[in-house]
Structures are given as structure tokens and as C-alpha cells.
């Protein structure tokens, strides 16, 4: 495998976690820690595959995956934002719930060959170096990259983006502006869940492509790790996802090459170790103020108990 092909494979491996991590970033920036990403991705994977197989339309698959993920996210948001249940416990329960529901829905689809493919778009595969790496992919890969840019610009330069940041840092300020904290958080959690489901659908429609129980294999947790690694910034989320993608692509390559167990397992630890290091770095006082955890992350907003 040439280095170009490896990097191209890294980009493809990065795409599902990139979608999921961007979704988690929206939720966490709004102050909601959603540990149900893994379950949401599975819901997206199964509903996308089921819809695409039954309708024969890849667009229908992607759309249904996003809608299903949003519905799943809305249930989560209702419990943690309206009923103010603990986010950690509820998130874990949603990972379990998503695993179970996706297995139940997906039962008839195990072993069914994929009938559709996401269209590919050649934007200039002949161009040296960047062509084979960047410009010969399917639409969802470009979509993920574009979305990263959009979200980065949204958070950084728009007024709603400023309010999103405030939701996670100081919801009482948003409340004082007369804006509905619960409603906005709800919207971001639901949107984030839709993106996580899209990442899941990418796995079942493009990456694998078929439906296998538990096919996300921990990518939802990787997405959460990447958001922390990125210190809640979209550009760094892209970098983190690419790092994971590179590790993932390298792993395939090493597994083909003989007896690499040691290197594979230690290689797989890399994203988590990198995340721990970043987490330790941003914990230091000076850095924390600039890039640290959204101050209100994980805390339900309650006007009467603040």
C-alpha cells in the first residue's frame, strides 16, 4: 500500500468518527455531555442500512438514519434537559438502549448484501499527491470536511455560535438574555445525535458496507475522546479524527503483515493516550481558561437552583 492510499484510507476511516465527534462537540458546547454516542451511531447504522436496502435509495437511507438518530437524541434530551436526569447515567443507558434496539431492528438485515452505494465524486484524482488522497472520495467524505468548516465558522463568527458557546459556559447569561436555555440545548443535542447517526450510517452504507451487530466497535467512544482531545474546537476535531483514521488504516495494514499483535494493540491505544495527555495539559490553570472544558458541561440548567 502506498503512502497516498494509506492517507486516503485514513480519511475514509476518519469520516464516521468525524461526523459523530462534530455532533458530540455541538452537544458538549451546549453544556450536555452525551455518552450515548455509541448507541446513537448504531441506531444510525441500522436504520440507514435498513432504509437503503428496502427503498433502494441511498439518499433515503442517509435521511432516515439522521431522522432516527434525531428521534433517539430527542428522547435523551428530554430526559436530561427537561427531567434533568443525570447526564452520565442516562448517556450510558442510551448506549445500552441503542445497542439493544439496533440489534433487534437489524436482525433481518444480518448477512444481507448492500444494494446501493454512496456516489463517488472525482474532483481531480489525477492531480499529483493531493488527488489520490483528497479528491477521489464519496460524497459523505466531502460532506464531513465541509461540515467541519461550517461548524467552525458558525461557532467562531456567528451570533448563534456565540450563544452556543455561552450555553456551555454560562447558561445563566443566555437565560438573562431572554433566550430559552432548555430549548436551545435540546436543539443542539438533537442535531448532534443526527450527526452521530450519520456517522453510523457511513459505517453500514460505505465503510463496511453491511449491517453487523455492534459494528461501531467503540467508535462512539473514540468520538467522545476526540472532542476532548480537540479541546472542543472543530478544527482540532478534524485533526483528532484523522489521527484515529491513520491509526485505523495502519492497523489494517499491520494485520496483513504477519505477527503484529503487540504493535496493533499499542497502536490502538494511541488515540486514548493522546487524549489523556491533552486532557492533562488543558487542566492546567492558564490553559484551562483559554481552551478548557465548557464550564457548565454536564450540569442541567435550573433557574431556581443555580
Amino acid at each position: 500500500m502506498s503512502i497516498e492510499l494509506l492517507l486516503a484510507a485514513a480519511l475514509v476511516s476518519a469520516t464516521p468518527v468525524l461526523y459523530a465527534a462534530l455532533g458530540e462537540l455541538l452537544a458538549e458546547r451546549a453544556g450536555v455531555l452525551n455518552l450515548g454516542v455509541e448507541g446513537t451511531m448504531l441506531i444510525g447504522a441500522v436504520s440507514g442500512f435498513a432504509a437503503a436496502t428496502m427503498t433502494g435509495s441511498v439518499a433515503a437511507g442517509v435521511l432516515l438514519a439522521v431522522l432516527a438518530g434525531m428521534a433517539f437524541g430527542a428522547c435523551f434530551a428530554f430526559l436530561v434537559i427537561v427531567l434533568r436526569l443525570n447526564q452520565i447515567v442516562t448517556g450510558l443507558a442510551f448506549t445500552i438502549l441503542g445497542t439493544g434496539v439496533s440489534a433487534l431492528i437489524g436482525k433481518p438485515f444480518i448477512g444481507v448484501p448492500p444494494k446501493v452505494a454512496v456516489p463517488r465524486l472525482d474532483l481531480g484524482g489525477e492531480i499529483a499527491v493531493i488527488g489520490p488522497i483528497l479528491l477521489r472520495h464519496d460524497l459523505l467524505v466531502y460532506g464531513a470536511l465541509l461540515l467541519t468548516l461550517l461548524i467552525a465558522a458558525y461557532i467562531r463568527w456567528t451570533r448563534p455560535g456565540l450563544i452556543l458557546r455561552a450555553l456551555g459556559e454560562s447558561p445563566q447569561a443566555v437565560d438573562a438574555l431572554g433566550l430559552p436555555v432548555a430549548g436551545l440545548r435540546f436543539a443542539y443535542v438533537v442535531a448532534g445525535a443526527g450527526l452521530a447517526a450519520l456517522g453510523g450510517a457511513y459505517l453500514s452504507l460505505v465503510f463496511t458496507p453491511s449491517w453487523i451487530e455492534n459494528m461501531t466497535a467503540g467508535r462512539g467512544w473514540i468520538a467522545i475522546a476526540i472532542v476532548i482531545f480537540a479541546t472542543w474546537r472543530p478544527g482540532w476535531v478534524l485533526l483528532g479524527a484523522l489521527l484515529f483514521g491513520a491509526v485505523d488504516a495502519l492497523r489494517f495494514r499491520l494485520q496483513i503483515g504477519g505477527d503484529p499483535f503487540m504493535s496493533v494493540h499499542f497502536l490502538n491505544m494511541l488515540p486514548y493516550i493522546a487524549t489523556l495527555v491533552v486532557l492533562a495539559l488543558v487542566s492546567r490553570h492558564g490553559l484551562r481558561r483559554r481552551l478548557g472544558v465548557p464550564a457548565a458541561l454536564g450540569i442541567a440548567y435550573d433557574r431556581e437552583r443555580r
Binding site: L83, I96, L97, V101, I224, F261, M262, Y272, E304
Partner: protein, 360 residues
């Protein structure tokens, strides 16, 4: 037309234990109804499914024994999580500490001379497990106490590293040559294996009950338990009172790791007799749910862990009735969420506000 707005107002009175039990019961019933609707929607008979679930969980002496055995690692991890939560620390990484405890114990169990008597092997085996789990928790605990590193996120990351490390051990240096490249280590020596207590129930349940008593003692008897709660609820008051916040935080998380490490060793010693991939199907995560359901009370955890283990075993038994075991998984989450939702909702008064005309 503007809709009437629903508002939740906190109730000021604390719920009594009786009220909590009633709410938990209501939540359980709600979950069963939701589960029945789901089962019917997928074309399965809810009565058959629940019957199979119950038989698999508590229906026979053998099922009861299996359920009790399975409750042990969940309960032990949950005691640790509850202990850390006394200091308002979240130990999401019990799963990883469980694996590290199991790795450390297996290291002892594989390398002691095979004829080592149990009186020597057993203490070493479990000490290693406690040390392994505690050390793994310390990696998160010390930065939490010193630089304020978020322990929710760090313990979660450490879990995945621990699982990968276990995979490395059982596929690499500790692979059992006789296991035909299954991800198993060789069995640990005889002296490190916990025997059967009664029927099919192994000695682990004794550890589980002892854990509840220990947590109870920390709550009620030991001054240390008091410090734990002060640090959690009023860190400034603790400092003013001369309590070393940092030391207490580290101890709380390290103790949580020790409990989880012990759980890992018991799994190796009494259940699998060896280290293997997938040693725990997520006991450390289930323990978080169990600890939360039990309101972090020691004997509540003991009971909740047995019920949860029953649900796990019942889920497997569903297959006999041609019902996918995923139903069991869904029920786990549904029961948890319904109970939490009912308990959570009951902390609030629901009021409908008349729609008001917003100022422009």
C-alpha cells in the same frame, strides 16, 4: 395559538425511603409496559418473553446461583463507584480498573509455582488485584487532585487502554499455547481459584456482602467516611476544617479502583479461571447504573446488582424462546431510564403555566 407551557418546579421536601421504593416500583412497571409494547410491535408475546426472562434469572436453583455469581463483579464495582461519589467524584473507569486488577492477579496466578498452597497464593492473588485496580485509578486520581484533570473523561480513556492492554497480554506474552490462538491466558494455579460456597454459588458473594458492610462502615463508623462526604459536599468547609482535600480525593478514587480490581480477580479466580478477552461484558459500566439506581447506598447496591444480574442472565435465556437476546438489553436500559425518570420527575412538581403574551 400559544400552547400552555409545562414547568417543573423543584419540591423542597426530601423523599423518604418508602416514597423512593414506591417510585422505583412504578418505574419498573412502566418499563415492563414499554417493553411489552415493544415486544408486541416486533411480533413476540410479552407474557412468553417475561416468563422466559424470569425463569432465566431466578426460575431454578441453577439460575439463582448463576445470577448471584454474576452480581458479584457488578456489586463490587458499584461499591467503589459509590465510594468515589461520596467525594462527588465520578469513577466511569471501573471497567478498566476491573481489567487491570484481573491482569495483575493473573500475573501472580500464572507465575507462582503450581504447587503453592491456597493460604499463600490466595492473599497474593487478591492483593495484586487490589493493587492493580488501585494503581490504575491512581493515574486518574492524582492529576484530579493536583491539577484538576476531569476524572469522568480520564477514567473513561483509561478504561479503553486497560482493555487493549488485556487484549495484548492474552494474544501476546500470556497466550495459552493450548488454546489454539483463542484470546485466553493459561488457567491460573489451583491455589488461586475460589471454590464453590454452596450449590453453584461461588465464594465471590461473600466478598460482595463484605463490600456492602465495608461501605456501610465507611458511611457510619469511620471518621474517614465523614471526611469523604465533607470534601464532596463542601470542599471549602473541608479545607477550613483542616481536611486535606487532595489526599481524600485520591483515596476515594483509589479505593474505587481497588474494589473494581477485586471484582476482576474474582472473575478470573472463580468464573473463568483465566484472563481472557471480554472477561467483563461491561460490568464496570453496569455498576454505574446500579450504583445510581441504588442511590449509592450499600445494601441497595447489593439488591440492585442481583436484580441487574438477573436481567442479564434472563436476557440470555430469551433465546430459548426464539426471542432475540437484544430484548433483554433493551429492557436493561428501559428499566433504568423509567425508574430514573419516575424518581427524577417526582422531585419536581409539574405545573402548567397559562400562555402569556410575550413582550415584543
Amino acid at each position: 395559538m400559544p400552547l400552555p407551557r409545562l414547568r417543573l418546579e423543584p419540591r423542597l421536601d426530601e423523599a423518604t425511603t418508602g416514597e423512593l421504593v414506591v417510585r422505583a416500583g412504578l418505574g419498573f412497571l412502566l418499563a415492563l409496559v414499554l417493553g411489552a409494547v415493544l415486544l408486541a410491535a416486533f411480533g413476540y408475546d410479552p407474557v412468553v418473553a417475561y416468563g422466559a426472562l424470569y425463569r432465566g434469572a431466578f426460575g431454578t436453583a441453577r439460575a439463582v446461583a448463576a445470577t448471584l455469581n454474576k452480581s458479584v463483579p457488578i456489586a463490587l464495582c458499584a461499591y467503589g463507584i459509590a465510594c468515589a461519589y461520596r467525594a462527588r467524584l465520578w469513577n466511569i473507569g471501573a471497567e478498566g480498573q476491573l481489567y487491570m486488577g484481573a491482569c495483575a492477579a493473573t500475573g501472580i496466578g500464572l507465575h507462582l509455582p503450581p504447587e503453592t498452597p491456597a493460604a499463600v497464593a490466595m492473599p497474593l492473588f487478591f492483593l495484586a488485584a487490589v493493587a492493580g485496580g488501585a494503581a490504575w485509578a491512581a493515574i486518574a486520581a492524582i492529576p484530579r487532585a493536583t491539577i484538576g484533570m476531569n476524572e469522568i473523561l480520564s477514567t473513561l480513556m483509561l478504561t479503553y487502554i486497560a482493555i487493549l492492554f488485556t487484549d495484548y497480554l492474552v494474544l501476546g506474552p500470556w497466550v495459552d499455547p493450548a488454546a489454539f490462538s483463542f484470546p485466553y491466558s493459561p488457567p491460573v494455579i489451583e491455589g488461586a481459584r475460589l471454590g464453590v460456597l454452596y450449590g453453584g454459588v461461588h465464594w465471590g458473594i461473600v466478598f460482595s456482602i463484605a463490600g456492602a458492610l465495608l461501605l456501610h462502615a465507611i458511611d457510619r463508623g469511620l471518621p474517614w467516611g465523614y471526611r469523604l462526604r465533607v470534601v464532596g459536599d463542601a470542599p471549602l468547609a473541608a479545607r477550613y476544617g483542616g481536611i486535606d482535600n487532595r489526599a481524600v480525593m485520591v483515596l476515594a478514587l483509589v479505593l474505587a479502583g481497588a474494589f473494581a480490581g477485586l471484582a476482576g480477580a474474582i472473575e478470573v479466580s472463580a468464573s473463568t479461571t483465566r484472563l481472557q478477552t471480554g472477561l467483563s461484558p461491561g460490568y464496570g459500566f453496569m455498576a454505574i447504573l446500579v450504583a445510581w439506581l441504588a442511590n449509592a447506598r450499600p445494601f441497595g447496591i447489593l439488591v440492585a446488582s442481583i436484580l441487574y444480574a438477573g436481567l442479564l442472565n434472563g436476557g440470555f435465556a430469551l433465546q430459548v424462546s426464539k426471542i432475540p437476546p437484544a430484548v433483554g438489553t433493551i429492557l436493561q436500559a428501559t428499566i433504568l431510564l423509567s425508574v430514573l425518570a419516575i424518581i427524577g420527575l417526582a422531585n419536581y412538581r409539574v405545573r402548567f403555566l397559562r400562555p402569556q403574551v410575550e413582550a415584543p
